[in-house]
């Protein structure tokens, strides 16, 4: 318990200082807001084009697909807030040798590397994603149960969203930790950003081979499709359990990999 309080205190210090530093650049808030709105408008436009052939996409209705898109936007905002500012820096630490100082600190190094800074510029994305989800749920069209879902599905989807966040974090961390071996994997984490774009659409919209890939290799399905199904009241026990299991596996995997990677860290220029 004392240990937990210590980490909580550290986290408050970390985030307080980084927020103060980020707010030095107020123009960024506008750029980020514009970029979120532009991306959202573009995504809705493309989704509309995809629905040009019929009322369904991979068995998903228009509002269901919007929920998926909203979840994607929300996760993207979370990435900008926490994952990108922290984990894209591991490479620099390895390159310049400042990882030495991180490892020497009397605090868990994975915690330090993952939570050292926070950026407020992902908040527009989180809010926009949340707004889109609520809007899509309220406007489900004729034939579908309208209005917000009951408490049960909401709680389930919140749990699955948490699992999605854990999976996303682990994927980012694993890729960033690889820089211990490949020192100049400059922006390996950017690759994730571009491949996770697949999460903008329900996983059943893809051909079967890609569906398998996005479920078992790059678990995009668990990031957006599974929480969206729960929110639409179609959650199934198998997928929910699978999602939690995947989250646990990913987190444990990232932890193990970090322990293993540290053995190969030889500091810069040695």
């Amino acid at each position: 318990m004392r240990e937990f309080a210590r980490y909580w205190r550290s986290l408050r210090c970390f985030w307080g200082t980084s927020l103060a530093a980020e707010l030095e650049y107020p123009l960024n808030a506008w750029i980020e807001l514009l970029s979120v709105l532009g991306n959202l408008a573009g995504s809705v436009f493309v989704l509309q084009l995809l629905f040009g052939g019929g009322p369904q996409l991979g068995g998903w209705s228009w509002s269901g697909a919007l929920v998926v898109l909203g979840l994607y936007t929300l996760l993207d905002g979370f990435t900008t807030c926490v994952l990108q500012p922290n984990l894209s820096r591991i490479v620099n630490h390895v390159q310049t040798g400042t990882l030495d100082y991180v490892l020497l600190k009397p605090i868990d190094s994975q915690f330090w590397l993952s939570a050292r800074t926070v950026s407020p510029w992902g908040l527009p994305g989180i809010l926009a994603g949340f707004g889109l989800i609520v809007w899509a749920l309220l406007n489900r069209g004729p034939g579908a149960p309208s209005g917000l879902p009951a408490a049960g599905p909401v709680l389930l989807s919140l749990a699955l969203l948490l699992a999605a966040l854990v999976i996303l974090y682990s994927l980012w961390f694993v890729l960033a930790a690889l820089s211990i071996w490949f020192v100049k994997v400059w922006n390996a984490t950017e690759v994730l950003r571009y491949t996770l774009v697949a999460g903008r659409y329900p996983v059943s919209a893809y051909p079967p081979a890609l569906r398998l890939l996005f479920t078992f290799v790059l678990p995009v399905a668990f990031l957006t499709t599974v929480p969206a199904e729960a929110l639409l009241g179609r959650g199934s026990a198998i997928w929910a359990l699978g999602s939690l299991l995947a989250a646990w596996l990913c987190l444990a995997g990232s932890r193990l990999l970090w322990r293993y990677a540290q053995r190969f860290y030889t500091s810069a220029s040695s």
């Binding site: 650049y25 123009l27 960024n28 750029i31 980020e32 514009l34 970029s35 532009g38 991306n39 573009g42 436009f45 493309v46 084009l49 995809l50 629905f51 040009g52 052939g53 019929g54 996409l57 991979g58 490949f182 100049k184 994997v185 400059w186 922006n187 390996a188 950017e190 690759v191 950003r193 571009y194 491949t195 774009v197 697949a198 659409y201 919209a205 893809y206 051909p207 081979a209 890609l210």
Partner: protein
């Protein structure tokens, strides 16, 4: 002339050697260009392409071509330039009797050259996974397509030079590139063929430089009917428009540049 040849050879040679050193990174970069392939997956599952009059084969040819075009028109000038300006590496470059932009251009060309094997491997993987997808364009289409890719790359590079010069005024100009990325992503034909756009949006898109960067070379490679003269003309016109603006901004920025920390 021989001076230009010597400089070009030295720059390209050294940058190519540098890029080969980073081949793991370049493999990852090549991998990050899979967006058109992902979009091919979504589009082939939806009936929207057929409704717009595109057959399954046309669709797959288009997106595979767009994938190749995207691989060889990636521009990352602004990220590197911002870092160089902030870290003070730009100052020694500026002392040399050659604009630093040539150095960056050589770096981009070398990176593309070192990308070729990775792109070939990825295309091979696509061919193995779905044997019907690959095709060989006719010699004429291939030649014109490659020319169009080079022209599209130059246009994109020039456009980013414009934004890059803002690094002289702001420490975080790279954030602006994210804004430039949005119309590029949605209007260029990278995520949806222009044929599926509503007519009004399509006209609007064609009035911007973006469709000429992906849609035009991709259609050439895919063997779609396309107005070759109009395409190259549009790229040339945009280049002629952007070149003086970029030149002027670069000069104005240089006058303002005072090296970080000075």
């Amino acid at each position: 002339m021989s001076w230009a040849w010597r400089v070009a050879r030295a720059l390209l040679g050294s940058q190519y050697a540098l890029m080969l050193e980073y081949r793991a990174e370049i493999a990852l970069w090549a991998l990050s260009g899979v967006l058109p392939l992902i979009m091919l997956g979504v589009w082939s599952g939806s009936g929207a392409a057929a409704a717009a009059g595109l057959s399954a084969q046309q669709l797959s040819h288009y997106f595979l071509a767009a994938f190749v075009v995207r691989q060889f028109t990636v521009v990352w000038l602004i990220q590197v330039f911002e870092d160089d300006a902030l870290q003070g590496r730009l100052s020694p470059f500026l002392l040399q009797p050659l604009s630093p932009l040539w150095r960056y251009l050589a770096a981009h060309l070398s990176e593309q050259a070192s990308r070729i094997p990775f792109v070939a491997v990825m295309l091979l993987a696509v061919g193995l996974a779905a044997p019907g997808l690959l095709w060989l364009p006719s010699a004429g289409a291939l030649l014109l397509g490659i020319l169009a890719i080079v022209a599209a790359f130059l246009l994109r590079f020039l456009l980013q030079v414009l934004v890059t010069t803002l690094c002289f005024w702001s420490e975080r100009a790279a954030a602006l590139d994210r804004l430039l990325m949005i119309p590029y992503l949605f209007l260029s034909g990278l995520v949806a063929p222009l044929d599926t756009f509503p007519p009004a949006v399509r006209r609007l898109a064609l009035a911007t430089p973006f469709p000429w960067m992906v849609d035009f070379p991709a259609r050439l490679l895919a063997g779609e009917p396309v107005n070759v003269a109009l395409g190259f003309g549009a790229i040339a016109a945009w280049c002629l428009l952007l070149l003086p603006i970029g030149h002027w901004l670069w000069r104005a920025g240089l006058r303002r540049y005072s090296a970080m920390g000075a």
